[in-house]
């Protein structure tokens, strides 16, 4: 699951970042590198670079090349014919103007925003609550924390199938549970009504995202020295006030990171939406990611699909830039 990997990668970077900014920026070892003229020095330099070469080669081959290919495809008329004739004429910005002007694009963009905002908000608030809860020590704390990560590790196909049953209108566990309550009437059509489907999909995505948020925030909380709370308690800051004046400000760097990462990761979400609603009913859960997929693989217009994919990457980049700016200090050693 590359999306999970992404989140993990960025998160770990940010964890380090957060730590370093708190430490006032850990300085790396400075080996006297003022003048690198002697041949011995040059040799040493080359030896050092050799450490990076395998990774650089791998990244260029497995990421650089696909990205370039996709950017090019976005400017080409790339259809089923292309596969046989090998011809994909360049059509300038036609693909972009076609997808941006389609009526579905606006809907998909709105859904993408709602889906992302809803997912992030839910994951973050619940994740933080859980992280705070786990700070107390109680029996089984470790085991529970391990189990908490599970939703993040079960194959998505299985998760999607299980959720489809739980949310089934007529026979789903959720509606059977709700039906047993006195004040609920009727069976909400979670996945099959235009008003609820997006909410349901967001709900499932929140479930998938909580482990990640909770674990990172928990790590951030562990970093806050206990003495601060003791000192705060003397000044009468306990409970909510302690959270507001001690926890929150110190957790800020981690929070920023979690939120930005969450956005980048959520923008790309595809499989869970396809698995639950396939973008339906009546396009009510169509996002830019699913729209791009349908254009490429259902309508076989690979040029327009690539264009949509590139729009998505640009959106992510926007957040990446924000993220990097916020962590500039940490990365710029």
């Amino acid at each position: 699951m590359s999306t999970r990997a992404d989140a993990g990668t960025l998160a770990s970077a940010s964890g380090a970042a957060a730590r370093q900014s708190r430490d006032g920026g850990a300085t790396p070892p400075s080996r006297d590198g003022r003048s690198g003229r002697s041949s011995a020095r040059t040799k040493a330099r080359i030896a050092e670079l050799a450490f990076l070469v395998p990774a650089l080669v791998y990244l260029v081959l497995f990421f650089g090349y696909p990205v370039v290919k996709n950017v090019l495809m976005g400017f080409q008329e790339y259809t089923t014919k292309t596969f046989f004739t090998g011809e994909a004429p360049f059509v300038g910005l036609d693909n972009y103007s076609a997808v941006l002007s389609s009526s579905l694009f606006d809907k998909a963009l709105l859904n993408t925003v709602l889906f992302t905002a809803g997912s992030i908000l839910g994951q973050f608030v619940l994740g933080l609550a859980i992280a705070v809860f786990f700070r107390r020590s109680f029996p089984l704390n470790n085991v529970l924390r391990a189990l908490l990560l599970l939703p993040w590790l079960v194959p998505l196909i299985a998760s999607a199938a299980v959720w489809r049953w739980i949310l089934d209108t007529d026979y789903g566990a959720l509606n059977r549970f709700l039906g047993a309550l006195p004040f609920v009437d009727g069976n909400p059509a979670w996945l099959t009504s235009t008003s609820l489907a997006l909410i349901a999909v967001i709900g499932v995505n929140i479930w998938l995202g909580i482990p990640f948020n909770a674990t990172i925030l928990y790590g951030g909380l562990q970093e806050i020295p206990e003495e601060l709370y003791e000192a705060g308690a003397l000044d009468g800051a306990t409970g909510w006030r302690a959270f507001r004046h001690i926890t929150w400000p110190l957790l800020r760097p981690v929070v920023t990171v979690v939120l930005v990462l969450g956005v980048v990761y959520t923008l790309k979400v595809l499989d869970i939406i396809l698995g639950l609603t396939n973008g339906g009913p009546a396009n009510s859960t169509q996002t830019i990611a699913t729209y791009s997929y349908f254009t490429s693989f259902k309508e076989f217009d690979f040029g327009q699909g690539a264009a949509l994919g590139n729009v998505l990457v640009l959106l992510s980049l926007l957040f990446a830039v924000i993220y990097l700016r916020l962590n500039r200090k940490a990365v710029d050693e």
Binding site: L52, L150, A173, G219
Partner: protein
């Protein structure tokens, strides 16, 4: 939080599909689903295991030296490399899969374990670089210097001093790399067609077509395929937490 997972186990122990209301508890549990799943998917579980372990080895071999270089050497454009690593993570998996298909088809890597290992490492390599870089930043340079003074070259110092000191980082990165490869579906679907090389995630997907009305083997497979993750989590609790927070936990 855990209810859906309970539901998965519940369904795996019953027969019948999603068309009828599943009982709340497996009153009369049957292991038929598991027997069938094990018979059909045993081979695929082994494939997944081989691919995942291969991906761990490959990712660590590529990532560890790079992480060390980024953490300890003064390379002016290290920041940009790191940016690059982060940006790779913005790219939708499909884009990578698309490009890999045609490249792999030319190289004869389709339907092969090495091909899957290479592809699945796209998740592991960047992750491992960043996790390990965070850890290795805290290795006191004086230790490496001492080894160098004793006449060890850069590489030897790295292998005999840095790697042993970074054991935790390696384990954390390896663990996650394993899980990423284990859970991969996109590359499995894109880059294989035969039954000889078929990771369990894809086996699960193929099942859905076959057992449309009896979900117990499907869910049993899902449970089986989640087991390695569960076992790893319980065993390596400490490393997992450290991995996700990228060394923020000291």
């Amino acid at each position: 939080m855990l209810f859906p997972l309970y539901w998965m186990v519940n369904v795996s122990l019953q027969s019948g599909g999603g068309a009828v209301a599943t009982p709340w508890f497996p009153a009369a549990p049957s292991l038929d689903g598991y027997v069938r799943a094990f018979n059909d998917q045993g081979h695929n579980l082994v494939t997944s295991l081989v691919v995942s372990l291969g991906s761990v080895v490959l990712s660590l071999v590529i990532a560890a030296p790079a992480a060390y270089a980024l953490a300890q050497f003064r390379i002016r454009w290290a920041t940009w490399v790191l940016f690059g690593v982060l940006i790779t993570q913005m790219i939708p998996g499909i884009v990578v899969a698309n490009a890999l298909y045609s490249a792999f088809s030319d190289l004869g890597l389709l339907n092969s374990i090495p091909g899957l290992i290479l592809a699945d490492s796209t998740a592991g390599v960047p992750f491992a670089i960043i996790v390990m870089r965070a850890f290795m930043g805290s290795i006191p340079p004086s230790i490496v210097e001492a080894a160098r003074v004793d006449g060890a070259g850069q590489l030897r110092a790295f292998v005999s001093v840095v790697l042993p000191m970074s054991r935790n980082a390696l384990i954390t990165a390896g663990l996650f790399t394993f899980l990423f490869a284990w859970g991969d579906f996109l590359f499995a679907l894109t880059l294989t067609t035969t039954e000889d090389v078929r990771p369990v995630t894809l086996g699960l997907y193929q099942y859905i077509g076959t057992y449309v009305s009896d979900w117990s083997p499907i869910m049993a497979t899902a449970v089986l395929s989640s087991l390695p993750a569960i076992v790893l989590l319980l065993v390596a609790q400490r490393y997992v937490a450290a991995g996700v927070t990228g060394g923020a936990v000291k």
